[in-house]
């Protein structure tokens, strides 16, 4: 099987996601990058599930998709509140917790 290709794709997606989370200032883009990370994990799970011939990975992937949907809902809600308070969705504005 071509497991390596799948893993490679997942790793690339993961790195892009991490880069997005760390480097972008826009809160919505950060959320999208988080989705990328989660989906790269999904690909990993499906790849190994195919290789092992079991459906456990599929189950987990479905589970993660459901959790990610909920997470996006909460995250967008947070972004909306941030925008109402700051008139901006740049995460650099949110540094009141600085020690």
């Amino acid at each position: 099987m071509f497991v390596n290709q799948f893993l490679f794709l997942a790793a690339v997606l993961f790195c892009i996601g991490v880069y997005g989370v760390v480097a972008r200032k826009n809160a919505v883009l950060m959320l999208m990058s988080t989705e990328l990370i989660l989906n790269s994990v999904n690909i990993n799970l499906l790849a190994f599930a195919m290789r092992n011939g079991s459906t456990d990975g599929h189950t987990f992937a479905l589970y993660i998709i459901a959790v990610a949907a909920a997470e996006v809902g909460v995250g967008l809600g947070l972004v909306l509140l941030v925008y109402r308070n700051k008139k901006s969705i740049s995460v650099d504005e949110l540094s009141e917790m600085r020690g």
Partner: protein, 774 residues
Amino acid sequence: MNILAAESEVLAPLATGWFMDNAWLIPVVPTVAFALIILIGKRLPMKGSELGVFSMVISLVLSAGTAYQWIQRVNGTSEGQFVSPVVRSWSWWQSGGFDFGIGQHVDGLSVVVLFVVAFISTLVQVYSLEYLRGDRRYTHFFAALTLFSGGMLAMVLADNMILFLLGWEIMGLCSFILIGHWWEEDANSRAALKAFFTLRTGDMGLLVGISMLYFAANDWTQANLGLSGFSIRGISAWALSGEPNSSVITIAAVALFIASIGKSGQFPLHTWLPDAMAGPTPVSSLLHSSTMVVAGVFLVARLYPVFFVGLDILGSGGNLIVIIGGITIVISAALAFVQDDIKRVLAYSTVSQLGYMMLGLGAGAWLPAVFHIFTHAFFKACLFLGAGSISHSASHHSFDMKKDMGGLRKVMPITFATWIVSTLALCGVFPFSGFFSKDEIIDNVGHNGYNTFMIIGLVGAFMTAAYMTRATYLTFFGEPRGASAGHAAHSHDPHGASAPHDSHAAHDPHGATGPHESGLLITVPLIILSVLALGSGFLNATPFGESWERMKLWVEPRASVVIADSYPGGPGESLKLASGAVPAEESHSKSVCGSATPEKGVCYAPQLNHAPFKWSKALVSLLIVLAGMAISWVLSILVFTERDPRVAGLTSRIKVLGLGHKFLVDKYYLDHLYENVVVRSVAYPISQAAYWFNQNVLDGVLHTVARFAKRLSAWVYKNIDQRVVDTTVNNSAVLTKSVGTAAQPTQSGRVSQYGALLFSAAAIAALVLVIINT
């Protein structure tokens, strides 16, 4: 007797049966009923009384079955064979090498007392259904009455002294509760306290006696019988083994006898018993006349070998028991003459009759004394219940013979008839039951060499006849007076013994109707008891020959030497007749037990003598009794009805007689002696000493300790708290502060930086995992 016959005698099997094997159920049933009455009694249709009556009926049936099977067992043996008691014991608890058992000991003595207690308890409970109807503590009354029966039955059936003590104390407690049943009256609660404290004084003796016997006997009983030093069989065998130190066993016997003095109301601790009449009449009838007060007599009868050896009963012309018994007979009979309260007359009569039992036991007349317990229970219960019947239905709850009674024979024919039967039994008139028991005691006391005390017994019989005739005359003859003449209720007698209870008076059904006969629940027990007062004497009718002496056959333990060989698994259970120990031709008439050390085997009972019955002696005592009745009858008519100037008011005219009368009315000043002299002389210095001790010793110690503690705490504050503790706290705070300052830059507040740190940490963790796994 040849060897074969002896062998067959050895192997004669003793009959047994379910009732005897399970006799321990007899006290358990009322005890369980007590718990049920307390828990759910108030919710039952008859307020819990049905449980009490029902449990007593069960106990009575079980006791009757046990008695029947015991008689079968005795009848199945050959003459002179030792009838071993049916003993079952279990370990109750163990502590430090002491093994406290619990168990049953069924023999003739326990069977007869069990039956009497269960029987009288049943009748008294039935009687109480009517007598206490509507009382505010009806349920608790039945609970206490039932618990009392459980305690007494447990004591009677006890196989060891610990269980005996338990039953004994339960009875003391129930006596306290029941005397003070109407505690709203101050006099009643004081009477209850007096009874309790007087009994406690005696109970000290029981504790001391039991402990002494245990430590003296335990080694011997463990070695020879495999029994504990608490077990009654072990103590009995030890006492007759010739082993005990004479001074130890004497002191133990005296200590135990002090307990008997307290419980059985003997001189000088008899003062509680007349005051105990403050309780409801069924209580007086059950506890303070026929059952509980014989517990002291029962103790002496139960551990008879200890007293037999310790006080040298057959060897001397006087010992502690006969002296106390003799004094008690005369002084309490004299007190009965000056009482106006009918229950107090009966109370002093009880004290006097208990004196007869003690006299009998002390003089070696074991069986007549036990037989007197049996007959006395019936006729004295009947007399008390009769007095209760009068107060319930004829005299507005008054017990005052002079103020509220008289002429009642016409309105209360059943009570009158039963009273007369029981009075004749109490006086010892042939053929009523008292004749067969009391006359036997007097006869045997003389036969065993206690001649002075035989005369005292006859004087007591004269006095008994006289005071009972006086009481009968005042109650049932002459003109009706006060309440029994139908007069309205008036102030009751001042000492409060018979003061009415308010709830009791509230339902008073006869305010308008005047004196009348009591209901069936009261008269039926009276009739049953009077029939037994008449008939129970024939169970041991010595005048009619050996074949009538059933009680002697069934109850008296046989003084045979038995070999006790312990089989594994049944210590002390396998008792056999030692066929060779006693020459056969002598064994039935005279055993070595009690007089010499048994060589092979052990004795459980001493050999006692029985006086042969002679009509000449009986006629003398009968004449004395009849003379007492006649003199008292004539004097009663002259004093109370005719008011003859020659005899009426003698005490106010002749100074010596007046002083004597006052001396009797004031009860020999014994109450004053106890309350004002003994209690004060003991309690006052003790309180003084306690105050001084408190002020000087306790407070001194307290002050020193406080000063020391103050100084110590000052040092601790300066050196430990300030230096050690505070420094530690400060240093740790400084450390925390510097760590915080160092870590501050990482908290930038920028989400991207947090994300970067998170992923770096995850990457490092992943690297570590990879390295570890490869």
